[in-house]
């Protein structure tokens, strides 16, 4: 008779020294893991709940600027620096991690309408519509206080915005038209206009060096090639587009923030309708910015919120609001796509996290594995109603929540009436128009 009894050697299960990690027995046989799907679901639910527990995106205020902020401009190369322009003409230079002001200049006598950095030199430009000037300022290594600009240019139009080319020594001023200036020449190198209304903002495409986009006051979006004398295209929208931003990773994609509470992303190759309509704000969208990854957007809105979006998804991923934050006029991503700086009408710049529940310190390998696992679990069970409810829900203050309900009711009414009209009048007289095609009046060439 052969007898074998199960006897374990404790040494096989104990760690050798106190410096080792504990040994963990592993047997992947499914008989030892019943209800594994349910356990995974509970872990996904817990991951969703913990994400909300740790979601504290607000990092701090930069300090009272004393008057309404009009512009925010991030440094193109340094992660921790940004500029802000004020309506009383002051320009401030901020250290983002410390949230402290490095220096402040009395740049203009009126509202600072444009701010942009030179891509390579330690030089930034500011323009004002009241005194019709464009000033260039040099920032020294020791960031000392100084009061006179390096150069100053008087313009014969009131500039409304300013943008610098990504590599060449060109900048675009928007006023009654789009003007292209070379820093070495006093006269504009190019001028484009379509219609009689002023141009609110013109931005260079970071990849296609000859391409410019501009938004005008008469609800139009212009596409301009600097090699041509006339603008390429004009898209006539229903409402005014307040701001625009090119996607830094995809050369043909741009996003605009509209007065009709939406953001639109456009494919420059096919401008007949927007590629995506981002709906969520309950008042005019004032500013839009792409993340350096090109996959996310941030929008600042007149309804006192900042919303974050994933490129291509029309529902916002997150919404930031504070009791003290009033109308938000500018929002910018930091260069590492981890932080957002917002400028609002309550005279403050604020710093936020782009991922609300992200841990800011260094993650140990186990922490990183845990975070990745949680993320994968949430995605796997994203369609389950309990998990979806927790992941999607955001608390809003009462007035914002009521505004959202109002927008929902308005939209519901519009849809309902359409359906009734279609039933009464017939499909041919009331055709079904997809959401994307409802917002563009026409494209002109």
């Amino acid at each position: 008779m052969k007898v074998k009894l199960l006897l374990r050697n404790p040494q096989d299960y104990l760690r050798e020294t106190a410096d080792d990690i504990h040994k963990l027995a592993r047997n992947p046989a499914p008989e030892l893991h019943p209800m594994s799907a349910e356990t995974e679901y509970v872990r996904a639910l817990n991951a969703a709940k913990l994400e909300r527990v740790f979601a504290k995106p607000f990092l701090g205020c930069f300090g009272d600027q004393g008057d309404q902020l009009s512009r925010v401009c991030m440094h193109p190369r340094a992660l921790s620096l940004c500029l802000s322009g004020c309506v009383d003409g002051r320009v401030a230079f901020w250290n983002i991690p410390r949230r402290s002001r490095v220096l402040q200049l009395d740049a203009h006598s009126g509202c600072v309408q444009g701010l942009c950095w030179h891509p390579e030199q330690d030089l930034f430009y500011s323009c004002c519509d009241t005194d019709r000037t464009l000033k260039a300022w040099r920032v020294g290594d020791d960031l000392t206080e100084f009061s006179r600009p390096v150069s100053q240019r008087h313009l014969d139009f009131a500039p409304l915005n300013l943008d610098h080319h990504v590599s060449k020594d060109l900048f675009a001023l928007s006023g009654d038209a789009v003007y292209l200036y070379d820093s070495r020449r006093s006269d504009p190198v190019g001028q484009w206009k379509w219609g009689s209304d002023s141009v609110l903002q013109a931005r260079f495409n970071p990849t296609e060096w000859h391409l410019l986009a501009a938004v005008t006051k008469d609800n139009a979006l212009l596409l301009i090639d600097t090699r041509q004398r006339e603008p390429l295209r004009r898209i006539r929208c229903e409402f005014r587009q307040n701001a625009l931003c090119w996607n830094p990773q995809e050369p043909f994609v741009l996003a605009t923030a509209s007065d009709d509470y939406n953001l639109y992303s456009w494919d420059a190759r096919r401008l007949a309708s927007p590629a995506c309509v981002y709906r969520g704000h309950t008042n005019a969208a004032m500013d839009v910015d792409f993340a350096p990854t090109g996959r996310e957007l941030v929008s600042a809105s007149y309804d006192c919120t900042v919303r974050l979006w994933e490129s291509g998804r029309s529902q916002s991923r997150d919404v930031y609001h504070t009791k003290r934050m009033y109308r938000v006029f500018a929002a910018r991503y930091s260069l590492d796509a981890r932080f957002i700086v917002t400028a609002s009408a309550d005279f403050n710049l604020r710093l936020w996290k782009a991922r609300a529940s992200e841990k800011l310190g260094a993650l140990t390998p186990r922490e990183r594995a845990a975070v990745n696992t949680a993320e994968a679990l949430k995605q796997k069970y994203a369609h389950h109603p309990q998990v979806r409810r927790i992941v999607q829900h955001r608390h809003l203050p009462k007035r914002l929540y009521q505004a959202q309900l109002e927008m929902k009711a308005i939209r519901g009414k519009q849809r309902r009436k359409e359906v009734n009209r279609r039933e009464h009048r017939g499909e041919d007289k009331e055709p079904f128009v997809p959401e994307r095609d409802r917002h563009v009046r026409g494209v002109d060439e």
Binding site: K2, K4, R8, P10, Y13, L24, P28, M35, V42
Partner: protein, 527 residues
Amino acid sequence: FQTTMDVAAEDSDQMPSGFHAKAAAKAARLRREAAKLASAAALESPGGIESRPGEWAPTQSKLLRRVAVAARPGHFELSLQYGPYSVAYDTTGRLLALCGRGGHVAAFEWRQKRLMFESQVNEPCHALTWVGAGSTPQLAVAHSNWTYIYDAQGLELHCLKRLHKANKLFWLPRHWLLAACTDTGHLHWQDVSTGQTVASYCGHHGPLRVSALHPDSGCVLTGQPNGQLCIWTPLEKRPVVKILCCPAGVRAVATAPAGHAVYTLGGDSRLRVWDIRCLRPLSVSDSGADAASIRLFDAAPQLAVSQRGLLACPVRQGAALMVLPAGGAKPLLSHPSPGRLSDLAFCPWEDVLAFGHARGLGSVLVPGSGEPNPDGAVHPLSGKRQRREAEVRGLLDKLPPETIAPPAVGGGVNAVDAEGIEEALARKRAAVMALPSDEVRQFQPRRRSGKASGELNRKVGERWQRRRMELRQLLKSKKRVLAEMGDEGADAAGGRKTKKAKKVSQSGELTKPATGTFLDRLIPKAD
């Protein structure tokens, strides 16, 4: 299995770019490592007895001579005086607890014979189970009236008055639930981590004296005197499933710690094995032996099933215990009991079986009963820190009681709601085929008054007249299509072409539909 990426990785010039090649190589490497881990030679191999034909089942002394000395702690006898004893191991297999009808409650680590506590509660104790995780073990004991929970030092922590006259206690480790069946016919599920009573109701099926827990799903199985096996869940006050498993009353029910086998002993003394997933008898085992050929004549036997499927049962009116191999009828070993056998319990993760009898308790070696390779920290050799970690993780992963459902009923977190999808599709099809509502067809535009109203009213009236004609045509065509489709009606509408007899007009030609709408697609075409 191989995917396209694997195939492509082998043929690297098929990769569109270096990025893809690297990603494919990394994926292939991870897959190889996972396969290696899964198929890795397990640390331990299971025990067993290989006997020559004609050899008798070994006695304990014979086994002890053939195994290592380290196995000796598994064989011991305790002579105690306080009545028939019930025994329970905790989930790690490290601790053994006993309770006697004479009021004796004790717990000890059976390997080192280190006593944790021992007390006399002066009340008959009928059942016990370890609750909680291995780091803070607690013992739930069903006294004659109420159930008490004791900690590792024997201090009484809780008195659960709701669990009144419990005769069986069960611990659901994944749900952190203490389940109880009572002599009054009630079932209780108590959450031990939050203290909440999840369910407590009368089953209205008489006193529940024969019961077992199905650990994989968390359901309680009870055997009824009319031969039924009832499956209970906390969310339903009636048995979710009832199967007739024995021609006479059910005398015993037992389940394996893992898997889908349910053992029932009927009034005809036959042992039957059921598959709880399909509620049918389990197929005959490979050895050809039929479990139904086993007959056990004890009045109310306590059966126990080990992790590897060995079945322990009392024989000779409780004078001895017998261990049967999985699916077999020839006993693996037997052992005499000093007193009448009252309880049997296999030690998880070890080849040991504890039995309680009228004069104390004992423990025997049963080669091949324990699962050799555990997973995680729930095994006898896990340290204190690991058990603490496992307890915290267990609490975080606590499953809600809604997940307790018999496998036969189906559902589960990842189940696809096929019925719901079908219903939704049918509703959509019905909407397509919906007839224009009566309100729309009978709508009368309101008549305006004032200047130039006559002309306006005429125009609006004309427009509505035209629209009513259109709707009438639409209604006719839809009705015709529905009629042609026959009994299937609106549910089948939406693209399915039926080969029905075509309508032939008096002139002998096929009738053509008069509508120019999209419904023409649904009308069967002429050959």
